[in-house]
């Protein structure tokens, strides 16, 4: 855990490109998967000295059409405001990535909203040592139980996407992520460009 924490801190301090990220954290993700395999085989491991995690599929997911996005960050804003009563990119569950570092990228012409994919087999839930991440009974969204969460950030390291779709609230020291607003995501409603859509299926997405 110490090793993981160190890696995570480095990552939080200095943003890395997706390629660097994957290189740096593939070992963590792989450890998670390996751990799951070991757990199924009945082999105790440090991460998975806990009950097996199997979540029902989410009934909905926020889908992104980056072509339509106008980069206004209204989704970030309403997400933070409705959940935390405050505005700030750091408190948002959705993140509009504007990365124009490379000369080939077009300044102000490229933005990519990053919403949680509500994975069928979420690595964040798998990584959680206290099973704080569960499927919401109503929507199937993968949600963090704020009571249970110990703020270890293993879920963030385990998320295979960049930037991670699960984040840490620095003040509260708790992880938080997209809960689909209880079945009616406000980010989809507020988006002026129709770049976000809420896709549902009763069989799970």
């Amino acid at each position: 855990m110490d090793e993981n924490t160190t890696k995570k801190e480095k990552f939080m301090d200095k943003p890395v490109s997706r390629r660097e990220f994957v290189a740096r954290f593939s070992s963590v993700a792989a450890a998670g998967v390996a751990g799951a395999v070991m757990a199924q085989a009945g082999v105790p491991s440090r991460l998975h000295a806990k009950e097996k995690v199997r979540l029902v599929p989410s009934k909905g997911v926020v889908m992104v059409d980056a072509e339509k996005c106008i980069g206004c960050r209204s989704c970030e804003n309403i997400c933070a405001l409705s959940h935390e009563g405050a505005v700030g990119t750091a408190l948002s569950r959705i993140h509009v990535l504007k990365d124009w570092r490379e000369p080939g990228s077009s300044i102000e012409a490229e933005f990519h909203p990053m919403a949680c994919r509500q994975c069928p087999n979420p690595l964040c839930a798998l990584a959680c040592p206290v099973n704080a991440i569960t499927a919401d009974p109503k929507t199937g969204a993968r949600v963090v139980d704020q009571e249970k969460c110990v703020g270890c950030e293993l879920c963030i390291a385990a998320c295979p996407f960049y930037p991670p779709r699960i984040k840490i609230n620095r003040q509260a020291k708790k992880a938080f992520k997209c809960d689909l607003c209880g079945g009616d995501p406000l980010c989809v409603k507020v988006c002026p460009a129709s770049a976000l859509t809420f896709v549902t299926s009763k069989h799970g997405v």
Partner: protein
């Protein structure tokens, strides 16, 4: 007021001379000065005396956000800058400027409502803000670089979410027409503030913010946003019926909008249709509208991707070349002026001088060193630039201050003086001053700023907007309050479709506006000018409302329906209280319309007091004679002028200077200024600024 929501709570103070970094509480200034331009103006009043020169270390760059900044209020992206402006002519004077983008909100999330930067660093540096960590770092590696490349270097160092303000070579070389750029196209343009940064040896400011700003009534804010969405256009793919029954298909993006509405087609549209470019829409932070257009080019186009907005940079170049003929050149120009950090508005005025100068003989290849005859003959053909020697030379010479460019870098006002005063420009050299006067109609203190369009033609259409422009501390029509007045056709194409004659348009348009503003249907258009002074007062209050709360005036003026009508609502009425409603929900205050507008009046009275302290009087609230005379005869825009061929809106409505002066007299009386245009001690005290009154008396400005 310690628990006032919606503010970050502190203002960052940086002294580059000593390296001292400190903060002051925002509560010192709110709610009295609201935020944004209000607080910045007050700090300017306290810190920057009338004798301070723009390039002195004592001059301050005062960046300020407002309570609505970074929230869900429409256009809550703004960041205001108040400083002594080197561009003002004949003497440097206080001016303000404004940008969108992401910088303002991010500054708030980092924990600061604003930044006050003074002093001068001993060597080139940049300021880095990451929440509580504020450092002055050496600018090695970025000093001397153009803006886009330098920003990329900063993002590599501080992460892609860091927001940047940066100056280009023009700012480093203390050009009076240098800009401060954010991203690729948001610029503090007018004022020449890039040179103030350059004089402080400050290349850039970066900010990353991981904090948050809490709201008094989050649910109320979300409900207000839903209300706002009813006032703006439809989402992508939807159709909405607006004013005059017109069906709107598209949320925004000016070029997209124009194209959809059958309006102007630019060269960029042609490229898009041919599959050479992909046009998209871009919005600043929190914007439900997105007025900027992004361009991505097909392979082999040899052009930089990026974004633009019609009235910023390349619009002028397109105007100049009659819209569609220049295509890639227009874009290349847009990118290059931003990359070099030059104020595009000023440079477009240069083309007017060159055009008339080469016709009348006072500007030639011999006396400028530029191949001026080549101007307008540039071509972009399948990835190749042809005939572009003048094009590249003049922009680089301006930024690096070489040859004739050294004089252009002083701004058009000082350039016109230089040409008129130097014998090498021949017998007709005085004509330079005449042509300058047409585009820069304001006289006296705080002159040196051209109109957004050619004021003769699109012009201020009412005596009220004329007076409003005359009173400003920068260019006339700075804040788009009267924007619909000068070109409703271009801006809102459906008007042409539904209202065929000009009479019909006035009949339909004016009542909506006037009822809302001054409670009467009687329009304040020439020759009638009743109520004009009331409209002027309201323009100022509405202008300060957006600038202090820090929301986009471009968008908010539509939603408040103060440019004739709100185009996306069926009755044409918007919600004039929209900013106030957001202000109350965000801060937890319960401010009435009158109270808020009184605060706004406090701020423009303070601005006036500062201007008077710097020497401004009533003689400075006027336009020059050449402009008045030209306007009498101007019907159709002459060939070569921006927007040529368009029938002038001022046709048959010549402005009489005497009438403007009557409006100003009434206005002074209405807002409690004396006959010389100085705020009276009584009015200043009423507004809670007794100290300002005492200061003006001490300096002999007030008797």
């Amino acid at each position: 007021m310690a628990n006032l929501k919606g503010y970050a709570g502190k203002i960052l103070k940086v002294d580059l001379s000593s390296g001292k970094i400190s903060t002051i509480p925002t509560t010192r200034y709110v709610p009295q000065y609201i935020g944004g331009r209000g607080i910045a103006t007050r700090i300017y009043y306290e810190d920057v005396g009338p004798k301070v020169k723009a390039f002195d270390p004592e001059n301050e760059l005062i960046f300020m956000t407002g309570p609505l900044g970074g929230t869900l209020a429409p256009g809550a992206s703004r960041l205001c800058l108040v400083s002594k402006a080197p561009q003002s002519y004949p003497s440097e004077s206080v001016a303000d400027s404004n940008i969108g983008g992401d910088f303002g909100p991010t500054l708030k999330f980092a924990g600061y409502d604003g930044m006050v930067i003074r002093g001068k660093a001993s060597k080139p540096c940049y300021l880095m803000i990451e929440d509580d960590t504020v450092k002055i770092l050496p600018a090695e590696g970025i000093w001397g670089k153009k803006t886009l490349e330098a920003q990329r270097l900063l993002w590599k160092k501080h992460g892609p979410d860091a927001q940047t303000l940066i100056i280009g070579p023009a700012g480093e070389n203390l050009s009076r027409i240098a800009i401060i750029l954010h991203q690729s196209g948001c610029a503090f343009g007018q004022g020449g503030f890039g040179a103030v940064m350059g004089a402080k040896n400050l290349k850039a400011i970066t900010v990353s913010g991981n904090g948050s700003v809490s709201m008094a009534d989050p649910k109320g804010v979300i409900e207000l946003r839903e209300h706002t969405m009813k006032l703006v256009g439809p989402k992508n793919g939807e159709v909405k019926k607006g004013f005059l029954g017109h069906e709107y298909k598209n949320v925004a993006g000016y070029f997209q909008h124009w194209l959809d509405e059958g309006g102007m087609e630019t060269g960029l549209h042609k490229f898009a249709k041919q599959g050479k470019a992909k046009m998209g829409i871009q919005g600043c932070y929190g914007c439900p509208f997105g007025c900027r257009t992004t361009m991505k080019w097909a392979d082999g186009m040899n052009l930089t991707d990026g974004s633009t907005q019609c009235f910023e940079a390349f619009g002028y170049w397109q105007h100049w070349y009659k819209w569609s003929d220049v295509e890639g050149i227009a874009w290349e120009w847009n990118t290059l002026v931003n990359d070099l950090g030059i104020n595009s508005t000023e440079v477009t005025a240069l083309y007017w001088l060159i055009q008339t100068g080469r016709e009348e003989g006072f500007l030639t290849k011999a006396n400028t060193g530029w191949d001026v005859d080549q101007m307008g003959k540039e071509k972009y053909d399948n990835g190749k630039f042809i005939n572009c020697e003048f094009f590249y030379q003049h922009l680089n010479d301006i930024a690096y201050r070489k040859g004739f460019g050294d004089h252009v870098a002083e701004g058009m006002a000082r350039l016109a003086d230089y040409i008129a005063g130097d014998k090498k420009f021949g017998e007709k050299r005085a004509r330079a001053k005449y042509h300058y006067n047409l585009l820069f109609p304001k006289v006296g203190h705080a002159g040196g700023y051209r109109t957004h369009f050619n004021a003769i033609n699109y012009g201020p259409m009412f005596y009220s907007s004329m007076a409003y422009g005359a009173l400003g501390q920068r260019d006339p029509e700075t804040k788009h309050i009267d924007n619909g007045f000068h070109n409703p056709f271009a801006y809102q194409p459906p008007v042409k479709k539904y209202l065929k004659t000009e009479d019909e348009q006035w009949h339909k348009m004016v009542p909506v506006l006037m009822k809302q503003l001054v409670g009467t249907d009687k329009p304040a258009i020439p020759p009638g000018f009743e109520h004009a002074e009331k409209a002027v007062r309201l323009y100022w209050q509405l202008n300060l409302e957006t600038d202090c709360l820090q929301v986009c005036d471009w968008l908010m003026n539509d939603l408040r329906a103060i440019r004739f009508w709100s185009m996306w609502t069926e009755d044409g009425f918007g919600d004039i209280d929209l900013p106030r409603k957001f202000y109350n929900a965000i801060t937890g205050l319960n401010v009435s319309r009158d109270e808020l507008w009184e605060s706004c009046e406090r701020i423009f009275t303070l601005e006036r007091a500062i201007a008077c302290r710097e020497g401004r009087r009533r003689v400075d609230d006027d336009y020059n004679n050449d402009w008045y005379e030209y306007g009498k005869n101007a019907g159709v825009q002459p060939e070569g002028l921006p927007g040529s061929g368009v029938v002038g809106r001022s046709k048959g409505r010549a402005y009489e200077p005497e009438k403007l002066r009557i409006v100003l007299d009434r206005f002074y009386e209405l807002v409690g200024w004396n006959k010389d245009g100085v705020p009276t001690a009584k009015r200043l005290e009423e507004l809670g600024m007794g100290d300002v009154a005492a200061d003006l008396k001490k300096r002999g400005v007030l008797a």
